[in-house]
């Protein structure tokens, strides 16, 4: 698939002796690090696990990039590695996840310690910013309650804005499965989020 926008960089990586985070691999890393980190952050639900899963993702991409044969878009492959790394990490540290969610509750909306700075929040009114933080925490909690399969699909669709076709390619499932899983994810999210969203958007 030569229409891949990253074709040139990937080929350069495959043809050169990669020693580390440099050259064409560094360029690919810069292109993807935020996307990978966001997927990992939303699936794992905390910055520490997101960092670990992102690290693992790029470690795998580095090791396997020579084997990439352009049978899918490179971005689809990177997303797949990131989703799987995040879900695996979550499975390994289920206990830690619960602890961190409780910590998020205890720290409250004012705490900046477990959250990253959002560029536009300083321009917002303090009350509005606090409400946004609260909303973000609620949404993150709702995502965390989805099963790993539904969590991956929800993040790819609504946070990364991928088309159904690309989600099917990333997760290697049919288009029908993408839509039925998304519908199931909505059922769960509705139960968790409807009161909160009503309050925030409509109330």
């Amino acid at each position: 698939m030569h229409s891949d926008p990253d074709h040139k960089l990937i080929t350069a990586c495959q043809q050169s002796l990669l020693e580390g985070l440099e050259g064409p691999f560094r360029e690919l890393y810069e292109l993807y690090k935020d996307r990978v980190y966001n997927v990992c952050y939303r699936i794992t639900g905390n910055p520490t696990d997101a960092l670990d899963a992102s690290q693992e993702t790029f470690g795998i991409v580095f090791r396997k990039i020579r084997e990439f044969r352009f049978e899918s878009k490179f971005s689809s492959w990177v997303y797949r590695v990131a989703v799987n790394a995040s879900i695996d990490l979550k499975r390994r540290s289920r206990g830690r996840e619960l602890a961190s969610l409780e910590a998020l509750d205890e720290l409250g909306p004012e705490s900046e310690r477990v959250r990253h700075t959002v560029a536009d929040e300083r321009t917002e009114m303090p009350l509005r910013a606090a409400a946004r933080h609260e909303l973000e925490a609620e949404i993150q909690r709702a995502i965390s309650r989805l099963s790993p399969k539904l969590r991956g699909i929800t993040v790819l669709r609504y946070i990364e804005s991928l088309s159904y076709e690309q989600i099917a390619e990333v997760l290697q499932i049919s288009l029908g499965t993408v839509k039925s899983r998304l519908a199931r994810a909505h059922e769960v999210l509705d139960r968790e989020l409807t009161p909160v969203l009503d309050r925030y958007y409509l109330g």
Partner: protein, 254 residues
């Protein structure tokens, strides 16, 4: 949720059109009629767009700076693992487990083989622990050791045989010459000893002769000495012999 139900079709239609209006505009007539009478679908079509919007509006984060160094560490760790795996593969090639030979001699049926798989797993040789820890602690040294151990044995070049033959031939010739020389020396020595003995007799006779009384007829007493070896001769006689034999007797003694 029955996949053929109108509820499913309505939600699927919304997903297809998302973000779609919540009032059912654009939906097929049949689905719009269903929406008008189905409270669950009305709730869903009100809630789903809100959830989609809320998720889409979540703040995006920049990857933290620590990710750079974490990825560098992951790449290095991956390289170490790759080296260890390659070392294991080499090891596996060098020492096929005995169980493999057995398995090849007694091939089981496919099903039985699958069931027996855990039983037929070869245990790692004891040396593996050491090799892996060497590989991980000092890859460079381990690599040198592997390469030295794997150096191919060389055959001696053909010239070596020729050189050795030449050398042994020379040695033989040299020792034959030395033996011949020894025989010649002994022969000449014997001749010299004979001549020296005769001369010594004359010389001694002359030395011991002393005129006592002019009137008395001269007496010329002499002594005969027989020597079986040079060592038994007196130093004076030996000195004379050395001179007479041009050093041959001296060389023989030494």
């Amino acid at each position: 949720m029955n996949s053929n139900s109108l509820c499913d079709r309505l939600r699927s239609a919304w997903l297809d059109a998302a973000p779609a209006p919540t009032d059912g505009a654009g939906l097929a007539e049949e689905l719009r009629a269903h929406l008008a009478g189905c409270a669950a679908c009305q709730r869903a079509l009100r809630a789903w767009p809100l959830a989609a919007r809320a998720l889409g509006e979540l703040p995006r984060h920049s990857a933290p700076r620590e990710l750079d160094s974490a990825v560098v560490a992951a790449i290095q760790a991956g390289a170490r693992t790759d080296r260890a795996v390659r070392a294991l593969e080499r090891l596996a090639r060098l020492t096929p487990p005995e169980q493999l030979a057995e398995a090849l001699e007694n091939p089981a049926s496919g099903e039985a083989r699958d069931e027996a798989a855990p039983m037929s797993r070869a245990s790692a040789p004891r040396v593996l622990d050491r090799l892996v820890s060497e590989e991980l602690s000092d890859p460079a040294k381990a690599r040198v050791r592997r390469h030295v151990g794997g150096l191919r044995r060389l055959s001696a070049p053909a010239q070596l045989t020729t050189l050795v033959e030449q050398r042994t031939r020379n040695e033989r010739a040299r020792s034959a010459a030395a033996a011949a020389l020894r025989v010649e020396v002994r022969r000449r020595l014997r001749m010299a000893l004979g001549a020296a003995a005769a001369f010594a007799l004359v010389a001694i006779a002359l030395l011991v002769e002393r005129p006592e009384r002019p009137n008395e007829p001269k007496q010329r007493p002499f002594r005969v000495e027989r020597a079986s070896s040079l060592a038994s001769l007196s130093p004076m006689t030996r000195g004379m012999l050395d001179n007479l034999s041009s050093g041959l007797t001296q060389a023989q003694r030494d």
